[in-house]
């Protein structure tokens, strides 16, 4: 008994250290899995007030730029309305069944917290379950792909950024349709890497990369970026460096896209796996 007490007295630092480090590692391994981000979410609830204040200040500072972007978007929308009106024939018209045909549901949101300097980046948006956001919805910025929702609370959601080592996206070269897997290599926030494109495919610098829609998360044909460089990698494949369309350093207004027919597609696919 005395030996035990002596032992405890002598090594109490080490013991406290090991206990605390144990707790920290438990948090690290159980809290960081992106699909199990409940804990992350509940903890973030505390800090949201402060983050929102920081974000308000920041968005005030960039109002000018946002205005310009909105104006440009308005012009584009007006143009497309013009095209639609022109096509309308006053005598014959078809009734669009919007309930059955609509596949993607859009919700606009603001990113209120964002990081680009970690290896596993996440950002938080100011819409949650009560606004219809669910896990596994796609997040797009005005320019292109931004991330995927991984956790929601009532009024906030956390999305895994494209700048996350765990993020994988099925993407293809627009000009010839060959698809591969796109991910971030953790280096530069402006570039991602597209792999699994076979070497007989013709690749040019400047080619557009878009989503394939195979994953049932992202709609087909959303912009991802352009080819900025490519090299042969291993025996069979290219390693293509993609300049991302989305500027993650300026990520603010995002569009969350939910696939309303996702369950149907996944259930069907499950039957043949």
């Amino acid at each position: 008994m005395r030996n035990l007490l002596n032992f405890l007295a002598r090594y109490n630092n080490l013991i406290i250290f090991l206990i605390l480090e144990g707790i920290a590692f438990y948090l690290l391994t159980s809290g960081n899995k992106y699909h199990n981000s409940r804990m992350l979410n509940s903890v973030r609830g505390i800090t949201h007030g402060i983050e929102e204040k920081i974000n308000n200040t920041r968005s005030y500072l960039s109002l000018h730029e946002i205005n310009e972007k909105l104006a440009a978007e308005n012009v584009a929308l007006k143009n497309s309305i013009g095209k639609l009106v022109k096509r309308d024939n006053p005598v014959f018209f078809s009734v669009e069944d919007s309930i059955n045909k609509q596949q993607y549901q859009h919700t606009s949101a603001e990113a209120i917290q964002n990081s680009i300097n970690r290896q596993k980046n996440f950002f938080t948006i100011n819409k949650g379950e009560s606004q219809g956001i669910k896990v596994d919805m796609a997040v797009l910025s005005a320019n292109g792909v931004a991330g995927v929702i991984v956790g929601c609370t009532k009024n906030y959601s956390v999305a895994m950024s494209l700048l996350n080592l765990d993020f994988k996206l099925s993407a293809r070269i627009k000009s010839n349709g060959y698809f591969g897997s796109l991910g971030w290599d953790g280096r530069d926030y402006r570039y991602a890497v597209l792999s699994e494109i076979p070497q007989h495919v013709l690749v040019n610098v400047g080619d557009t990369i878009e989503t394939t829609g195979y994953s049932a998360i992202f709609p087909e044909g959303e912009l991802v970026g352009t080819v900025s460089d490519y090299e042969k990698f291993g025996g069979d494949f290219y390693k293509i460096t993609v300049l991302l369309m989305t500027d993650f350093k300026k990520l603010h207004f995002v569009d969350v896209i939910g696939n309303m027919k996702k369950t149907e597609q996944l259930e069907l696919e499950k039957l043949y796996k």
Binding site: L28, S30, G31, I116
Partner: protein
């Protein structure tokens, strides 16, 4: 006693606010992030009991983790830094030892002493932090690069703050 609790409480809050509101938002080339909150561990009195030091490190790391949404990462790195601190103090100890009841500050022990003391702990902390962040050894040398660059920036800011404290 009460006085020093108040003083360190104030330093603690100031450093956390600086880290969360300012340094977490500075992103040099999207690659480097200075972590100055570790300075709190550096500044605690020389004779602080080590259980208290470890508990304070744990709390500091946990609060930073809560604000940066990375459970456990900063906590483990800071607890390790707190564990290493007594050894670091022993390694760099001045020739005639530490004055009883003193703070490890630049004012008392000089620039060179403070620099090497801070560098030891910052390197331990940053190395742990960045390797825990990637959690793989695949990009070993790139992570070393990040550790070195971030250490450079953190040290610069820590020394600046320490100079400012001395100036007052």
């Amino acid at each position: 006693m009460i006085n020093s609790i108040l003083r360190f409480g104030l330093i603690f809050i100031l450093l956390i606010l600086l880290q969360v509101l300012l340094f977490n938002n500075i992103q040099f080339s999207g690659y480097v992030n200075p972590y100055v909150y570790i300075m709190f561990i550096l500044l605690l009195p020389v004779e602080i009991p080590s259980w208290l030091l470890l508990l304070l490190s744990f709390t500091t790391g946990l609060i930073i983790d809560i604000f940066s949404g990375s459970p456990g990462m900063h906590t483990s790195a800071t607890v390790l830094a707190g564990f290493v601190r007594p050894y670091a103090l022993r390694i760099v100890s001045p020739r005639d030892g530490y004055e009883p009841g003193s703070d490890p500050s630049m004012l008392i022990y000089g620039f060179r002493w403070f620099f090497s003391y801070a560098l030891l702990i910052v390197v331990v902390h940053h190395t742990t932090l960045f390797y825990l962040e990637v959690f793989r050894f695949a990009d070993f040398f790139r992570t070393i690069m990040r550790v070195l660059l971030s250490t450079l920036f953190s040290m610069t800011f820590i020394l600046l703050i320490e100079f400012y404290r001395r100036g007052k």
